[in-house]
């Protein structure tokens, strides 16, 4: 574990309204490099927080900085290739797993080592040719992780990546994430409703108020 990890994201008094209701209000936090688990009750705005971090949404109030620079000044498309988000439910494009990886790598202008990328997400090479429609939800979720990794992002945002999975599938995702955490090549911000999982996977745990 790193000491004095550099600050990745700095949030100051961030507020987000949806349908006239504040889903996030005056939220301030500092997210360092490394692995951060975000916990909090449902409705605390955890998913919203992740979507703010790669500009899938912008806050209505407050400031967010990424590596010391205001997030607003980043070009959204370029930012998203650096700060990859894996949503709660898998949403792959039609086709094979490999075609999904190639699509993502192509967008980021990265060379793709299919086998190595699959392995980092805990998938064996045979998955490359598999049609995404024929994968289990757990396999799809690992394919989503592989697709995000194909872009060689600096930060991975994971929105409850195991919430729709059974124990076995959850363990496989967690094993892949634990390995990524050890590699230290990519910072992780993981949203979880499960405090145990947060402790297992996070160097630090960020609690969101209800």
């Amino acid at each position: 574990m790193r000491e004095h990890a550099a600050v990745l994201f700095e949030l100051r008094e961030v507020g987000v309204d949806r349908g006239g209701r504040a889903v996030l209000d005056s939220f301030s936090a500092s997210v360092p490099e490394g692995s951060t688990a975000v916990v909090g009750p449902s409705g605390a705005g955890k998913s919203t927080l992740l979507r703010l971090l790669n500009r899938l949404a912008d806050p209505d109030r407050g400031e967010i900085a990424f590596r010391g620079r205001p997030l607003k000044t980043y070009e959204p498309l370029a930012l998203r290739r650096q700060v990859a988000l894996v949503p709660q439910l898998p949403a792959l494009l039609d086709g094979s797993v490999e075609s999904n990886l190639r699509y993502a790598a192509g967008l980021a202008g990265e060379e793709l080592d299919v086998e190595a990328t699959l392995a980092r997400a805990g998938l064996d090479p045979s998955f490359a040719e598999r049609d995404v429609g024929r994968l289990s939800v757990g396999e799809q979720q690992r394919a989503m992780l592989a697709r995000a990794l194909a872009q060689r992002p600096a930060v991975l945002l994971l929105d409850e990546p195991t919430s729709a999975l059974d124990h076995a599938a959850r363990d496989r995702i967690e094993a892949a994430l634990a390995e990524l955490r050890r590699e230290q090549e990519v910072s992780i911000v993981l949203v979880s409703h499960d405090p145990e999982q947060a402790r297992r996977l996070g160097d630090q745990v960020l609690e969101m108020p209800a």
Partner: protein, 257 residues
């Protein structure tokens, strides 16, 4: 053989029996369309009568400007009507208006430029009406589908945006399916034309006493013209409208926002 026929008012009135039949079926089966059938019948009488007088006026005046004015009015009303079918698409009126105008101008311009029809009211008015009418249906169906698909595919589109794809890239499969659904009805009916149904123009010409050869040739020209029209309008409407679902920062707008 006479080239024009005369239709008496009593003949039109008699055909209302079939409207009553439709309303009766709706009432009996609780399809809840009686009111709509009544409104549709009333509107068709009023609108067609007015258009009939307008066309007579335009034919008598024999000037291109009145034709253009009529076509512009059709484009405007077409876009207003299609907008209701595209209720889930924010700001659909602009794209529909441009789609119908482009489809009308493009196809009519081409058939005149190719020398298929003379640029006279006798050709431009009826052909323009068909072209704009079909363009309206196609763009309305395409945008209706676009609205549904954008709602259904929200998670996938956002996941694709999250990879740094542009709005256009993320929406591409959705736009493609919407375009297809706007065009497919006419493509399918063109495939089966003459086998399963006789298209309107041909029926009209045969009833009016034209030779079957002429009726068929004119029908073919019109079918192909309509194919051009629906593809232009469905393409234009979807390509302009999908943008309304995204912010300039390539974020999905909130549903209903």
């Amino acid at each position: 053989m006479s080239t024009s026929i005369h239709v008496e008012l009593w003949q039109v009135a008699a055909s209302l029996v079939l409207v009553a039949l439709a309303a009766a079926i709706s009432f009996w089966q609780r399809a809840d369309l009686e009111r709509d059938i009544l409104v549709a019948t009333g509107r068709s009488i009023v609108q067609l009568t007015l258009v009939g007088y307008a066309i007579k006026l335009i034919f008598d005046a024999d000037t291109i400007w009145l034709v253009l004015l009529l076509l512009a009015a059709m484009v405007l009303f077409g876009a207003i009507t299609a907008r209701h079918r595209a209720a889930k698409v924010p700001g659909s009126f602009g794209p529909l208006l441009i789609a119908l105008a482009l489809a009308g101008a493009g196809t009519l311009g081409l058939v005149v430029a190719l020398g298929i029809f003379d640029p006279t009211p006798r050709y431009l008015v009826p052909v323009g009406g068909m072209v704009i009418g079909n363009a309206m249906t196609a763009s309305a169906v395409a945008l209706n589908r676009l609205g549904d698909e954008m709602a259904d595919a929200r998670a996938r589109i956002e996941a694709t945006l999250a990879l740094g794809a542009t709005a256009r890239e993320a929406a591409a499969p959705t736009v493609r399916r919407s375009l297809r659904s706007g065009m497919i009805a006419l493509v399918d009916s063109t495939k089966t034309t003459g086998l399963i149904f006789f298209p309107g123009t041909m029926v009209g010409m045969l009833l009016a006493g034209a030779s079957p050869t002429d009726a068929v040739r004119l029908q073919l020209i019109l079918l192909y013209t309509l194919l051009g029209s629906v593809s232009i309008s469905a393409l234009t409407a979807t390509l302009l409208a999908y943008r309304h679902f995204f912010t300039p920062a390539a974020q999905l707008r909130e549903a209903g926002a």
